[in-house]
């Protein structure tokens, strides 16, 4: 019986069917559901690692230890894991290893749209790209065999559209997991220069063998049709091509690194016009051009964003975009926002009020950068806030640092905020760092992490004590505040910013979505006292809105009575509902 599955669930299933017994990941949209689904199978080990580098290293160990291993992350996670990845490509595997790179063309929920097929080329990895959930399952399963056959980690590159689209899947029979023998083999697994030189020779040999394999692999196929146009494509764009182009010829690549040169040459010779359809970078196109084959590619298609069937129809067939109904002009935007009662709101309200410079980081709290809070100056990647604040200080001096804070979430701090904090202490910075500890990784859907004391299966485990850790690093000024107690927060900030020493303020309050909130102390706006000054509205909460006719604020059904707007109102107009 076929059933609907998102791509991510199908990948987890494929790994399970291949007999994988270890899976490790750090959450990140659109990859998160891969390992949460895998964790639901019996008899396997799954974990959240503190970051992607650790996930990759645990994966390497598990593979060397003989288990088939799945490692999953979003595209930017591969940057974090790149160091072990590049060299693990040299050592090769024992138990097969498949690394999922979940790319995000269109940046539905990412800070960049890098094309990780590039990693495959640089690290000489076999890169496989499925086009629907069935292929996600089947290709994952085959990827484990190929990993062992060619002694290389395999990258399965997917995109958001595949990860989160449900398509029909027929499950297979799981094979019994095999734990391969563990043998000490220093020349293979100890990457000293002397040994690594030997392994580089092996990498090139394997890669040559792969070049041959891909010419006949069932993962690549030519679908001959009308030969006036031939399109080379892969992944989700393959579906768009089939949707809009009818009976043309298509070379569908299931393996995007290495490319099957002979197959492509044969295809090129068999069609009048050769076009390459690939989202983001011209990875296939540049290689094909380098072989002296005439192709059309990025001169016709954008390097930006996610493609769509209508975009391909316009670029390939000159279709005219539909005129539409012309209503969108009057529609106000609906930006994503912090939830009513979110503890982060207190922080950004205060930072803005105090007119501080904010070196920000990635998480729900990045929404504090948007209107009306607008409380962030920089945000680059996970963990960057503390180093950025340090750099600002070293460029502009301590006066500037006295008006600057670094803001970082708890999951992000554990991920990559610890080493930059060590840098601040070591190199005698004076940064004030706020760790927004909401006891979860909220942005990606509430995964646990080392400081929540709960594992991926929701079982209790050792809990990282952030406060003790920060002290151990050498930060002497550490305090814990409630981010929704504005006076407390402001005092803490003033005092810590005034110090010519590093400080950490831990703003501690659980994410409002963690537990169902029952409002026991509802509040209201007293219309007699409300002057319509809108200072409460400027905290940007969905629980309070402005009534344009009455020119007064009013509490609405979204309110959870967190108390923030009450503290902001200078006219005492917001108060408990009298019973």
């Amino acid at each position: 019986m076929k059933q609907l599955m998102i791509g991510n669930e199908a990948i987890a299933r494929g790994a399970f069917e291949a007999g994988a017994t270890v899976a490790t990941a750090y959450p990140g949209t659109p990859s998160t559901e891969i390992v949460t689904n895998f964790a639901d199978f019996e008899g396997v080990y799954a974990q959240w690692a503190p970051n992607e580098k650790v996930a990759m290293e645990v994966g390497a160990g598990a593979s060397i230890g003989g288990a088939r291993t799945l490692v999953a992350m979003k595209h930017v996670g591969i940057n974090v894991a790149a160091d072990p990845l590049y060299t693990f490509a040299y050592t090769g595997v024992n138990g097969g290893m498949v690394i999922i790179s979940a790319d995000d063309p269109g940046m539905h929920s990412s800070q960049n749209e890098q094309d990780n097929r590039g990693y495959g080329r640089f690290a000489k990895l076999l890169v496989i790209e499925p086009s629907d959930s069935q292929e996600a399952l089947d290709f994952t399963r085959q990827a484990f065999d190929l990993s062992e056959q060619f002694d290389t980690p395999v990258m399965l590159r997917i995109t958001t559209r595949l990860a989160h689209s449900q398509t029909m899947v027929e499950k297979g029979e799981p094979q019994t997991p095999v734990l391969k023998e563990y043998k000490k083999n220093a020349p293979k697994y100890v990457m000293l220069p002397g040994y690594a030189r030997g392994r580089h020779v092996e990498v090139e040999k394997h890669f040559e063998a792969l070049r041959e394999y891909v010419e006949t692999s069932p993962l690549n196929r030519i679908e001959w049709g009308d030969r006036k146009i031939g399109i080379i494509t892969s992944g989700i764009p393959y579906q768009y091509v089939k949707e809009v182009m009818g009976d043309i010829s298509v070379l569908k690549l299931g393996i995007v690194n290495p490319l099957p040169r002979k197959m492509i040459e044969e295809f090129a010779a068999g069609v009048e016009r050769l076009i390459i359809v690939e989202e983001l970078e011209p990875v296939i196109e540049e290689q094909v051009r380098s072989w002296g084959i005439k192709v059309e590619g990025k001169e016709r298609f954008t390097l930006l964003g996610e493609y769509s069937p209508e975009y391909l129809e316009q670029q390939l067939k000159g279709a005219v975009p539909p005129v539409g109904f012309g209503l969108e002009k009057e529609i106000p935007a609906r930006p994503p926002l912090l939830c009513a009662g979110c503890p982060h709101r207190g922080v950004f309200h205060t930072l803005r009020r105090m007119k501080l410079k904010v070196a920000g980081d990635i998480g729900c709290y990045t929404l504090g950068a948007l209107s009306p809070l607008e409380g962030m100056d920089t945000c680059i990647c996970m963990g960057a806030s503390i180093g950025t604040a340090m750099g600002l200080e070293k460029a502009r001096g301590e006066e500037f640092a006295a008006k600057t804070v670094a803001v970082i979430g708890d999951s992000t701090f554990v991920h990559s905020g610890i080493t930059p904090l060590i840098d601040v202490v070591y190199n005698q910075g004076t940064s004030t760092v706020m760790i927004l500890d909401n006891d979860t990784t909220a942005m990606t859907g509430h995964q646990d992490h080392p400081a929540t004391g709960v594992n991926i299966r929701k079982q209790p485990t050792n809990k990282l004590d952030i406060e003790a850790l920060v002290r151990a690093i050498g930060v002497k000024n550490v305090r814990v505040v409630d981010p929704l107690k504005l006076d407390e927060l402001e005092t803490a900030l003033k005092e810590e910013l005034a110090r010519r020493e590093p400080s950490v303020i831990i703003a501690k309050r659980p994410c409002v979505l963690l537990e169902k909130v029952v409002v026991t102390n509802p509040i209201m706006v007293d219309p007699e006292l409300c002057t319509g000054c809108k200072s409460c509205i400027r905290v940007g909460c969905t629980g309070i809105s402005f009534n344009d006719e009455e020119k007064k604020a009013e509490i609405n059904a979204g309110c959870i009575a967190c108390g923030l707007c009450e503290q902001v109102c200078t006219f005492d107009a917001i108060k408990p509902v009298e019973v």
Binding site: T160, S165, S308, E310, F325, E328, P332, P336, K534, S545
Partner: protein
């Protein structure tokens, strides 16, 4: 009753309104009926109160998981301005079901933007095949506000012409036991409303 034709359904709303359950039910029914089915949903930032969209496509063979602009047979809008926001995805002769519900986006709450007046009526004026319904009211009358999305399944399933028994089967599979009766009632009332509107 397999048809060669592909049916494209766009379900739009605001994060938290229950659009996901609706698309799940519709997709499940299409699977039961032996169609090829694809559903596309983007998670992520949209969950934080942003606009959400589910695309459901079914037919004998489906390639793209997303619907071309101007190619949706039907748009089911859980919220008025969200319906308008996605309207250009509709075929010129497509159908719109609008839940008469207003969820103010932040720029409106803070008084920086205006919520357009009577947007649902404007849509109805452009598109003769528009059904306006108050699903929250239907669900409240039945005794559980949360069943509003299943009431909308009633209207949607009638509009695309899938038999009630198939949908009831899917609802029974998907909805938790203790909420089943209310949801089935909401579904039937939704079906009814469609008939009355048609």
């Amino acid at each position: 009753m397999m048809q060669d034709k592909i049916t494209n359904v766009l379900i739009v709303g605001v994060g938290g309104q229950g659009t996901l359950l609706t698309s799940r039910i519709i997709a499940q029914v299409a699977v039961q009926m032996g169609y090829d089915v694809k559903v596309s949903e983007i998670h992520g930032m949209a969950q934080r109160g942003g606009s959400v969209v589910s695309q459901v496509r079914y037919g004998t063979k489906i390639y793209s998981p997303i619907i071309k602009k101007g190619d949706a047979d039907i748009i089911l809008g859980f919220e008025k301005i969200e319906t308008a926001r996605w309207l250009d995805y509709l075929k010129p002769d497509g159908m719109v079901i609008i839940n008469n519900e207003r969820v103010n986006p932040l720029p409106v709450m803070s008084g920086k933007a205006k919520y357009p007046d009577n947007i649902h009526e404007k849509i109805a004026a452009i598109l003769p095949q528009t059904v306006i319904v108050n699903a929250t009211e239907i669900a409240t009358d039945i005794g559980n506000v949360k069943a509003a999305n299943v009431a909308l399944v009633g209207l949607l399933s009638a509009a695309v012409g899938i038999p009630a028994e198939e949908v009831e089967k899917a609802i029974t599979d998907i909805v938790p036991r203790k909420a089943l009766e209310v949801n089935l009632q909401a579904f039937r009332e939704g079906r009814n409303r469609y008939r009355m509107a048609g």
